[in-house]
Subunit: 467 residues, 2 copies
Amino acid sequence: MAGLKIGIIGAGSAVFSMKIISDLCKFPNLSDSHVVLMDIDRVRVENVLILAKELASYFNSKLTFSIVDTIKEVVDGADFVINTAMAGGHGYLDLVRSIGEKHGYYRGIDAQNYNFVSDYLNLTNWNQFTLFLKIARTIEKYSPNAWYLQAANPVFEGTTLVSTQTGIKMVGFCHGHYAVEILANYLGVKEYEWQVGGVNHGIWLTKFSTKDGKDLYGKLNELSEKINFDEFKPTNPFDDQLSPVAWDMYKMYGLFPIGDTVRNSTWKYHRNLQTKIKWYGSPWGGADSELGWKWYVEQLTQVVNVMDMFAKMVKNGTKIDKLRTGTPVDDYLKEILSDKLSGEQHIPFINSIVSKTPARFVVNVLNNGKITNIDNDVAVEICATVCGEEFKFEETLIPKRVVNWYLKPRILLAKQALDAFLNKDVKLISDILERDPRTQSSEQVEKLITELYPIVIKNMKQIEEQV
Amino acid sequence: MAGLKIGIIGAGSAVFSMKIISDLCKFPNLSDSHVVLMDIDRVRVENVLILAKELASYFNSKLTFSIVDTIKEVVDGADFVINTAMAGGHGYLDLVRSIGEKHGYYRGIDAQNYNFVSDYLNLTNWNQFTLFLKIARTIEKYSPNAWYLQAANPVFEGTTLVSTQTGIKMVGFCHGHYAVEILANYLGVKEYEWQVGGVNHGIWLTKFSTKDGKDLYGKLNELSEKINFDEFKPTNPFDDQLSPVAWDMYKMYGLFPIGDTVRNSTWKYHRNLQTKIKWYGSPWGGADSELGWKWYVEQLTQVVNVMDMFAKMVKNGTKIDKLRTGTPVDDYLKEILSDKLSGEQHIPFINSIVSKTPARFVVNVLNNGKITNIDNDVAVEICATVCGEEFKFEETLIPKRVVNWYLKPRILLAKQALDAFLNKDVKLISDILERDPRTQSSEQVEKLITELYPIVIKNMKQIEEQV
């Protein structure tokens, strides 16, 4: 038994925490771990504690739990620290977006070519970057051997920032690559080999074949010719892996974009709601339109409310497997209670590290030559087999078209965003905006900066001052 | 005596050819060279021949001359081939710019962040790229030991293209770095050390000190604080080295931009005529506004007409040192007839190669590690001492700010432009335009492409078919 201490920062995110804890229950090696929960929302994290204990008991697991108030308490003595916190929450997202829109920046100033995911800020999230560094530096000081697993967005910039600014052991995780399954289902293929590579939210299907090595791209091409794109009807705003934009990006870049990559190309697909609807389908125009994002936030709110209700019901004696609300949240819970793993990579990764059981993951780590033709000092998302603390990275060949027309400009944006943050230099933000298609004049940029950046800086300072 | 054969393609450009020939007369080692002139404008090249012979005779030089009709004839047996030709000439520039403007692209589609010089096309100049490659491949075939000296724009993309696509010996030349002198004069400094580096039309003052090593940047900073930018009055549209935009770029990038670099930053300075006037001064708003460019073309036309007249006068017996018109062209001629070298680097460079006389040049050559942090497979502009065929490149340190905020995006544009050309793929041009601040809709892009690219391709084919 490992007897690990595993910290979760942002543990008030109930679905994520339940998934993590459910996964922990399913690895006998890890079931005597102690899980430390931290969240600035005390009510929510206490609700999560109630559900977590009940879940552990449901799985007959020996997991123990505690709630702490400071990053230092999470980190001190920890073997793994998982960070899923979003500094400022959705309130902050809405605020900075609305100030952007007030000054003519549709969907906010963080919406830029190759970066349109609405909770993936990199220009206005100096609070989030500060939090990342604060956690990392606390690890460096109090638990230098601990692993830092970053689930919080922006994973690309965050992993790059922490990996270049500190010396801790770190991996960024995302689950976008599971969307490969959607393509396989579309082809009616049950067993297949696949590989993705690129940067987080900018990953590409670099291998896709049958078990006996027959390339499946040919089949994709065949079927694509028969698609009537006008008929595409998404079942929800996130249902975009087979949307017209995904196929159009495939045509442009030569590889299939996977997962959230489909949300992240150019203004061609994002210019306005009408354009978004054309490419991502009616009625929402994808997850990042005003309509799609509203849908998502409503879903989230419902989940949060239901989880709070679940916690109260459990407190009042209802068994966890008897919880029902008649909402889609029931399905989340059903999955969490099933035998299957959640799909989040964190706990299987911890298991591979601790138990030296080799397993394959899609990880975000500093490039350092893993993918050629792109900078070494940025985080790439790449397939690797992990066993103990050894990573065996797969050779990942990304064609020049993707490198020069997608990855390089995306990487440049990340570097510029991090440069502005590290130097706290709003002049650099202005430079990005002077090149923004939504900018009509330097006065517009100046007015935006004058209103927005005092707020950005105030929120960053709040994080600096928090424990 | 070397007995060289030196070819000039685009030799109808009388001022350039006269400078080259005047320089040749001043190097005793090279004065028995044979100069081969080629230009698709037969009248103009014949006029140049008349003036060239007269000039050689004025300097008592043994230079000989001939006119040829084909690239093969220029190249065959040549030791050096100088290319200054602009495929399609100003008529083509005007045509592609006007089609761009018709579709909402102020100053044409080639005007992009970091590339605003009006005769430095890289998106619509498939004719020019074709010409570059045609000359280079002819050299590869018929005179593989000849040096190709490229004076024609775009020097950055052209040098990159030829150097990566062929194996010939090549250098790109520009004279932008002479603008360092303007800064020195401004400081009242007579003797100084300097170094520039970057990419063509994107070079930066990496060293600037007194002979005894005292940094002159401090003095620049001091003086800059006393400048009243509202009072800046350019003497002509090209008088921009001390314009508000130059100082603003210095503030943003941390090094002083030199020469045409001042014309090449972001839309911040180029959004419209009013913006250009604000930054480059009244009345023209710099060389690349509609007013500045009109001024320049009028000057050029005057020079061409005067040169034609000079040729006629010489033909009728007037001695070259007696030619007068009362126009600024008289000054050009005076300089050409003086003892001084023209300032064009080509002939001193040829002399250093042939006579093994070490001299310092600013050359455009493939990077291959010369400047760190930027791609190896693009041409950089860098200081080098040349002696024989040996180049000693100066260590050139360019700060990250310039690399990440200027050079990398500029380089990316060059790579994308060349990719579009090499694959003749208008889809790639569309992608660039979809990200263009002037684009309002995909329909706008499509209409522009539909009208413009058949013309681009037709003009490219004409070059392919010419001899």
